[in-house]
Symmetry: C2
Subunit: 198 residues, 2 copies
Amino acid sequence: MSNQASSSTLIPDTRTRILDLAETLLLERGFNAFSYQHLARELGVRPAAIHYHFPSKDDLGTALVTRQLRRLRKWRDLPRVADLPPNQQLEALFAVYDNHLGHDRRVCLFGALAADFRTLPAPMQAELRTFNRELTEWLAQVLAVGRATSTLRFVGSPAAKATQVLTTLAGALQVARVHDETPFQVIVGQLRLELLPS
Amino acid sequence: MSNQASSSTLIPDTRTRILDLAETLLLERGFNAFSYQHLARELGVRPAAIHYHFPSKDDLGTALVTRQLRRLRKWRDLPRVADLPPNQQLEALFAVYDNHLGHDRRVCLFGALAADFRTLPAPMQAELRTFNRELTEWLAQVLAVGRATSTLRFVGSPAAKATQVLTTLAGALQVARVHDETPFQVIVGQLRLELLPS
DNA sequence: CATTCTACTTACTAATTAGTAAGTAAGTTG
DNA sequence: CAACTTACTTACTAATTAGTAAGTAGAATG
């Protein structure tokens, strides 16, 4: 072997560069808005090189969601996240979405794929469902502990509130794209106002 | 002339049939997931017939958003909506989204176009911004009156709450598409719990 | 050192895309 | 009834799409 994944080298291998560029285009323009030719041209390779790493666009799309699912699990289990009190875990979540906003107002993966969901290959649909389910379960747990320890406040079940909050955050990035950053900040401000005890 | 818009006849004219089908495909599969060929085949006409009514796909897309904006203004000003107390106006809004859910889990127009927003023609972007702005302004007014008359309850400004609620509803339809109808019902239930005085 | 593997390129195909130009049948109008 | 308009169809183009097959340079391996 010469180089794999994106281990320790500074310049990532072609496979990773494809994934990174595809992710950027997916989150900035949508899944149906880029082609193998786009990717190839921008990476300085031939389209067939993309097919070598990802035989079909379905494979590429699925790899994108799978990678994001891996990232979620890693992030969630990071000591600097897992060991935080619930209110700060919530802030860490907000920071992730705020970071998307800062990167040219990217939407989140879920928001990028939900509208076109029915046109996606089955494995991609399955991975996206898992991704959203795991994220929701994580937040529900955070909210449950937060309310029990009086660091967070809300009515209804933690699961229902988690679903609502994540849906709102995904939507907030979309609204920011259509207008500007203001509505995102307004929405997150509103969430803080409601969830954090005053 | 023989027939225009969709006046009193039972069978709509071709232009309207194109718009209706395009809208269905847009809300069920996404804007980049259908072509003039798809439309033509399903309508039993030739692709050039679609070009006759809408020279480019940009024109078609713009007409779709413009029509929805007209519908919004009409709905909002309907006596059976405008004359309702605020809490019932909110329920009427929920009913619109619930109706989308009932139609094969269609997302709302905003949710269908937000992710691909940057790939849309400028007039379509402008119309969508206006659509979202007017809807938000309407809901903000409803919320303001609702709180003043104690039929609705929330913290923060009516404008912020309106932005948040609409964003959540748009997102809720997307989540329903990815999973099933349950999360939509859960989210609307949560909104009722929080907004309607117990 | 011969072989095999990795990561491509070149060259191609078949399908689909949006869009145009020219023709036409039926209805409308002066 | 002649001229025009509406609502199309037929026939086409140029570009783009995903995807494949065969070849190859260079590195790794037995």
